[in-house]
Amino acid sequence: MAGLRPIKFRLLELFSDEKEHWNNEIVEQMQKEYGMNSNFGRDSINFDIIELASGGMLRSVQSKVDEDGVYKKGFLLHKYIITDFGKTRASDACLMYV
């Protein structure tokens, strides 16, 4: 796991391709990268995404109910995109090092 960056840095990095991503797909990728395979790890990463959205760095562009249980059955899944503020924070906080 050497060379990994803080979780929120990596999340911003993943969103900085300026494409829309479903939260469950990002969570799955992060779980693999950081070896956080437990339910606690999954919820912890998702909560970091929620915090980034709450802080105005990501914006939810689409939502759907998780009918198939790909993340948590019955819960809402969100498709996020990075905001201008998120790009600014990403560039002045971390991505300039990438």
């Binding site: 803080p6 929120k8 606690f40 915090e51 914006r59 939810s60 109910v65 809402l76 971390c94």
Partner: protein, 348 residues
């Protein structure tokens, strides 16, 4: 229920979670004033005060004892936080965040300057000179500073209702400070250093919240708060305590004598309550914003006055009670807005 309704419900749940963290913060913060008061009468801190009073006077004795108590408070808080992070399995994330000094952890170290030797030391100075009830209520002004700075620095939204709450809190704060000072001036014994301590607490915590909010954008709250207390410990134990020792105060001798079961028990109680109050405080910021997090966290003033009355039989002056009630009312005004449609705390 359609998607829009579900989304609204999810936002509301998220905000409620933030409010819950802030409320836990208020409860634990209020309880913290009990060990924060008792510790002054526990050996060796009581003897230390008498010792320094004999050579440098009572005011200096109170400030130096407050410094040592603040340093031990920071030490027990970091122990509690390290255990908490160990339990959550976040040491790896802590290491990763610490490494990112320039973009991230510097904010927490900066927050530790305002939160530690300014706010917490100021609070202990206010406890030492005037009393825990005053210290608790005086710091109630801090959300005003935090909200205004959070708006100026990173555009956090403040609604009209929040501004109204801020105004009520300011009036409450003025009642506490000016009312208390006038009563003391007319009695001929103004503890001005205690008032400065109260002001340090309000300014320090307000600025700390706004700075920490910047770091919390890109860090996990549990990790951020631990780095912030790491910074505070370094400030006390590497800079301020050695300076006090070099200046001729017997601070190191008494620091070594503090490792007694009773002192450690009281300090441990302070560390657990304060450590977890901070965890709750920092966890609330990303969910409801610095302004609201500090606003609801402000209920600690009410909790502190109640706990100090129940456990220490301390009844604060009427100006403190009236001012405190206004601050609590202002906090309620700040947080009573409808948040169902609010997805982001920032203005985008």
């Amino acid at each position: 229920m359609d998607i829009r309704e579900l989304k609204k419900l999810e936002n509301k749940r998220k905000m409620n979670k933030g409010y819950m963290w802030a409320l836990f913060c208020a409860l634990l913060w209020g309880i913290w004033y009990i060990p924060g008061t008792i510790i002054w009468a526990v050996p060796p801190f009581d003897a230390m005060w008498v010792d320094i009073d004999a050579t440098h006077g009572g005011s200096m004795a109170t400030i130096v004892v407050a410094l040592l108590i603040s340093a031990f408070n920071a030490l027990t808080v970091i122990v509690a936080l390290l255990i908490w992070n160990g339990y959550l399995g976040k040491f790896g994330e802590m290491k990763r965040t610490l490494k990112e000094f320039h973009p991230c952890s510097k904010w927490f170290f900066l927050a530790s300057i305002f939160g530690g030797p300014i706010a917490i030391l100021g609070s202990f100075i206010a406890i030492g000179f005037i009393g825990a009830g005053f210290a608790a209520v005086a710091a109630l002004l801090y959300p005003v500073i935090g909200s205004i700075l959070a708006r100026q620095w990173y555009g956090e939204q403040i609604s009209k209702r929040a501004w109204m709450g801020i105004l009520v809190i300011i009036v409450g704060g003025l009642t506490i400070f000016v009312g208390g000072a006038i009563a003391e001036i007319s009695a001929g014994n103004l503890s001005y250093l205690g008032y400065i301590g109260g002001l340090m607490a309000a300014l320090g915590w307000g600025i700390e919240g706004a700075i920490a909010g910047k770091g919390l954008d890109i860090a996990e709250p549990d990790v951020g708060i631990t780095i912030r207390f790491l910074g505070e410990n370094l400030l006390y134990w590497v800079i301020l305590i050695p300076i006090a020792a070099i200046a001729g105060y017997p601070i190191l001798e008494y620091a070594l004598q503090a490792f007694t079961p009773l002192a450690l028990l009281v300090l441990g109680f302070a560390g657990i309550t304060f450590g977890f109050c901070y965890v709750c405080w920092y966890k609330s910021f990303p969910l409801i914003g610095v302004g609201r997090g500090q606003g609801i966290g402000n209920l600690y003033g009410l909790c502190a006055v109640i706990f100090m009355y129940l456990f220490m039989a301390q009844v604060p002056a009427w100006t403190v009670l009236v001012g405190g009630a206004l601050c609590v009312l202002g906090s309620f005004v700040m947080i009573s807005e409808d948040t169902g449609d609010m997805e982001s705390l920032r203005g985008e």
